[in-house]
Symmetry: C2
Subunit: 306 residues, 2 copies
Amino acid sequence: MRIVIALGGNALGNSPQEQLALVKKTAKAIVDIIDEGHEIIIAHGNGPQVGMINLAMEQVNMPFPECGAMSQGYIGYHLQNALKNELNERKSDRNVIALITQVEVDLKDQAFDHPTKPIGAFVSKEEAEVLSKQKGFTYIEDSGRGYRRVVASPKPIDIVEKKVIQDSIESGHIVISCGGGGIPVVNEAGKYRGVAAVIDKDFASSKLAELVDADMLCILTAVDYVSLHFNTAAQVDLKTITATRLRKHIQEGHFAKGSMLPKVEAALQFVTRKQARRAVIGNLEKALEAIKGNQGTIIINEEEEV
Amino acid sequence: MRIVIALGGNALGNSPQEQLALVKKTAKAIVDIIDEGHEIIIAHGNGPQVGMINLAMEQVNMPFPECGAMSQGYIGYHLQNALKNELNERKSDRNVIALITQVEVDLKDQAFDHPTKPIGAFVSKEEAEVLSKQKGFTYIEDSGRGYRRVVASPKPIDIVEKKVIQDSIESGHIVISCGGGGIPVVNEAGKYRGVAAVIDKDFASSKLAELVDADMLCILTAVDYVSLHFNTAAQVDLKTITATRLRKHIQEGHFAKGSMLPKVEAALQFVTRKQARRAVIGNLEKALEAIKGNQGTIIINEEEEV
């Protein structure tokens, strides 16, 4: 199978040292899947990392898309290094390619009217007012700790490097791309221009899976299953579920915004656009079993329902 | 021809805004060469950029190899974006791939005994003493302005991602790799580990050209020619020169350390290892003419001398 794996924050770490240790475990889990003969394309988040980079680089006025590009370099290097080392350990001569990825968004996306993703340092109300005049940034009050710049979280509509990603898969390489959801760019008459935005890495992974015509989208996180009544006595873990039923559960409000909801929506989007596609949402530590269908929540089209 | 182009500091910029403007000009010069039907692989420096990143990221103890990876993301994005935009402008559907590159160095390289490349902030003598005890860093007095950490500048011996670079060229893509000379890693029984070092981008480009079996190594900089008695009344620009004569000029001390000398040595290394190879050192703004042999200093093997 051709599988796009979306790695969440638990696959990486909060400091460079922690990340370097954590990616070794992540690499083992992924190489276990590679060993089964699957084609693997990896996408990953970058929330804490791009936050750290953006904060540190504020002093040199580094624009936000460039900070995203830096996080792709930083995380891509760690993942690429750990995967290659694990492959070498297992006497495999497969190669890993981490590529800088620009992901196209639409300036008409409603998300740009209501930016919601906080980035950068906390500032006072007065500073926020000065900065929004000076730089045109949007600020909101955040968790009672002050004001923070917010950027939009638009949906990905295309991946600029899709052809090179496809060719790298065809060449037999393990591909790392769309880091942090991709560097957000808009297409202005054939010219791509970076914009300050955060693309959800699960939606980017779903778009990636669609564009490379993957058989499976595998969203790995820190929990074993998608659950109803999560974290209550009435919690019910979902095993195999059809798109229609899952949509119903979304409407019932079972899934947390910015956490399980985008994962479920990204999985649905991928599965329902074409027959014979599957998505699985499961635990990174049980990744191989999730791919095999023994673990995690499997999302299928109605027609395939058993 | 298959051509490795090494871009110097004048192809990029000192601030994000300056760089974004400058890479557009660089992209035009490179696409002019692509339009002639050549296969292009681009390597680039990162001196000012990794310096800026390392300084800003000191507060979170970001290791130096990771800063190099970030600079590859940052510069790779700008170059990739500008090249794709220029290709689109010319109605070409060619694709650009910027890939994170680890370059292997040898811990036995004598450079590690005598680190010379200053990185990071200036500190006082007392701070330098504390930091070298705490972190094991080496500090030297730098240009009368205080003490700075120095790292080694070892020679590149291999490129971990050489196979993916080769396949990307074969797929017809324009490849950006070995940014900043590559992320320096050592090979410890099949496990690559990042080390704090600066690999000269000209030597990395020469190694890259060798590994992809390029026909030409093209080192682009801010001057038109390699010159004897540079910047004096007696200045003589070198047009076509054999390896033996160029070596003689090196011994005569004509070329500045850390400036023209590594370019000349990298060119020599590439040319003399195999027949029918050429290197050219010339001006970025006259890149196409340099490739055509009408501009710049062309370095050839003796046997081919006219």
